[in-house]
Each structure stands twice: as C-alpha cells, then as structure tokens.
Symmetry: C2
Subunit: 238 residues, 2 copies
C-alpha cells in the first residue's frame, strides 16, 4: 500500500501527472482512473508570490509537484493566517465556503495539478489505493495542524519559532548528528503569519536563539540549527 505521493522532477504536464500518478499505480482499474483524472486535472504553474487560480466556489485538491506553497486563510478586516506550508509531493485540500477564505500562494515558482474535490472523489471513490493515500495525507495534515494549534494557543514567541524550525528541519532540512542546515523558502513575514506573530517579534526571537548559540543565520534564508534536541526542548515538545 502506497501512502506517499512523490514529487515531480520537471514542469511539463506529462511529467507532473506521471509523478502524481506513479505514487498510486498498481491496480487493474488504474488505467481508466488515470484517464479520467487526467481529463479532470488542470495544470497550473504558479510563479513566486502569486496565487493558484482556483474556483472560489468549489472545494479543490491540489497536488504540489515541485516548488513550495503557503495556504493562507483570511478573516474579516484583511488579517491573514498561514495555515500550512506545502512542498513537493504534498496534496492540499482547499475548502470553499468555510468561515474563512482560503488561498494557495507560491513561495517559489511551483508546478501543480488542481482538481475539483467532489469530482475527484467521485472518480477515485472506488479505489482503495487512492483513498488510502488521500487519507494518509489528510491525517498527516490534521496532526500537523493540531500541533500548530497547540503552539498558537499556548506557547510564547520563542517556543513557537523553535517549534517552527524543528518542524521545517524535519520536512526540508538536511540533518546530520544533531545539526541541520535549512534553506527557508519563506520570508520573516510568512513565518510571522504562520506563527501568529509579527515580523519584528520573529526577528527578535531569531536574535535570541542566535545569542543562545542554538542557531546561526546566513543571508535571509539560510539557517543552521546547531542543536536540534535543545531546540525541540525550547519548543516545548514532549
């Protein structure tokens, strides 16, 4: 049983769809489903900083082939909260008509496949292998979102930043022996919007972590996490 979708290596429609689909093949019915999904899918190339062009009236599923995205929720009076980051191989569920309005925005140039959620589920609804993959993706997203909620509800600025860094290390860092090099594709503002803090507070907390010898920064995006266990400790992780 395959639970993990794999990232795409190139931007062309064929590669993108193949990458998406190759994580799922294996059954006899797969060919027909591939055909239907192929027709249903919309290839989107989102350039850094712009929004995925999604129908705001229908729930969407988006497969992120490569690049990186943020999922932004907007409440009244223009306040924005980044609800999740997604990287190559992730599948994002974007609800329409919720309390807040959601938009998917690229942090780097991104190639993706978009599907209307209900039709996707219609097609895939009889194929366990797809459903399993979807289920795992959504459970992973749910568990991440809960951990995020703990941070937003009960942690101070430093714990939130530490938690964010540990989480990113896990997803996009190159770790070895307690150290980790991270190239963050998001700005300080994005980090703030994700952690419920301001850009100034993020900056101050970076300074403190630097002073404590837990991280080093190079330029705007490169971060060296010197001591992951200590950072996880500061993050309030169990």
């Amino acid at each position: 049983m395959s639970n993990r979708l794999i990232p795409a290596q190139a931007a062309s429609r064929k590669y993108l769809f193949d990458a998406f689909f190759s994580g799922l093949a294996g059954t006899e019915a797969a060919h027909e489903i591939a055909f239907k999904l192929g027709k249903l899918s919309q290839t989107i190339n989102i350039e850094r900083g712009s929004m995925a062009p999604l129908d705001p009236d229908k729930d969407a599923l988006v497969y992120v082939g490569n690049g990186a995205t943020k999922l932004i929720a907007s409440a009244l009076s223009g306040r924005e909260q980044i609800v999740a980051f997604h990287f190559a191989g992730d599948l994002v569920s974007i609800p329409a008509g919720a309390w807040h309005s959601y938009a998917l925005c690229a942090l780097a140039d991104t190639d993706a496949l978009a599907f209307p959620a209900d039709e996707f589920l219609e097609i895939v609804g009889s194929e366990p292998i797809f459903l399993c993959a979807l289920l795992h993706q959504s459970l992973t997203a749910l568990h991440r979102c809960r951990d995020k909620a703990v941070g937003l509800g009960r942690k101070n600025a430093q714990e939130r930043l530490a938690s964010f860094l540990v989480g990113m290390a896990d997803r996009i860092g190159s770790t070895k022996t307690g150290e980790c090099v991270l190239d963050l594709p998001m700005s300080r503002r994005d980090i703030g919007d994700s952690l419920g803090l301001t850009i100034e507070t993020i900056s101050r907390q970076f300074s403190e972590l630097r002073l404590a010898g837990l991280v080093q920064t190079t330029g705007r995006s490169r971060v060296l996490l010197c001591d992951l266990p200590a950072l996880a400790q500061r993050a309030g992780h169990i």
Copy 2:
C-alpha cells in the same frame, strides 16, 4: 456513498458497535470486516472528567457513540490546549509519539469504541466505503482545525469566543430564525483551554457579549445566542 457515521442510542456493546457499523454497511465484504473490526474494537465507558484508557504508544481511532469529549494536547510544563471537541457520531484520530501528547477526556459520561489505528486501516484498507467515511471525517476535522488556527493566531478574545459559540451552535445547538439555544457541556476553563485564553478572559467576554445583547446566559451551561449573523460578524467570519 455514506460519509457520516451515526450516533449510538444506548451504551451496550452491541448497540454501540451496531451504531458505528450501520453508517458503513452496504457491501458483500461488510460481514467479514464487521467481524474483524468487532474483535479489534475495545468498548470504553468514560465517565465525566476522566481520560479514555488508550495505549500511549499506538495511534488510536475512537468512535464516540454518545456523550461528549475533548481532545487535549499537552506540551512541556503542563500547559494544555484543547485541540477539538467531539460529540456523538464523531470519529477521532489520536496520534502517539507526536510533538505533544494527546489524551481524550470525557465532558459527559461517554460510550466509545477504540481501535488501534494501524490494524484498523489494515482491515479496512480494501473497502472504499470505510475509507470514504474516514476520509470525510478527517477532512472535516482538518478544516475545523484550520479555522481554529486562524482564531488562535489572528483573533482577539471576543472574536474567538464569538467564533466558538457560532461553531457550537452549528454542531449542538437548536437553531431557529437566527436565534439558537445552546447547552454547553464544557466549563469556562475548557472554553479557555480551547481558545488559548484564561477563564477570566472568557468570563469577561461573555459579559461583554451579554451587554451587547448578543447572548443571554442561564446557569453555567445554558446560552441563548440572540443574533447568530451578528455573532458570526463579530467572529470575523467571511
């Protein structure tokens, strides 16, 4: 395709399992699966205020047959965040070995069925109808959790409480023509732990909403929401 599990009417093991299963029946393979799941399931009766006795080392799935529960996440230094509330008919996914430790606690006497998640998925992995139901439950939970994250990250105390009340009205209130009567099974402390606020702040915000004529309270648990649209407006909903 059935996406919704139904609540149990009585506490006995048979009724509980039947209620759980009747939301899912329909295929030929159902009988065998029912048998396997029956063997796998553990009936638990959790009394008000106590924790579900779950193996802390294995991911769990819990079907809440009746009653009400809170899912609590604990970070270091004993801080607790309520990550979700669940009512009759809900299926809860509880991860082990995450950043925070999770526990399911009953708000009222509750009857539930507990399953080890991996074995459950093993059994159910080939049956689309179960997977669909699971998928829908987890997507609903994910979308709720995201909306909660927006509140925790970007809303002030009053907006959070308004949002909470509107959400509860949706799930357990009896609504008619813009008004709604709610009997909250959770204490002010629970509300605070869910909204990332203190009990005092909750109390003050209730007072303000009362003063604004948006709610009336009777005793500790009864709340009358006088004007749902206005409340949703205060909640910052789009």
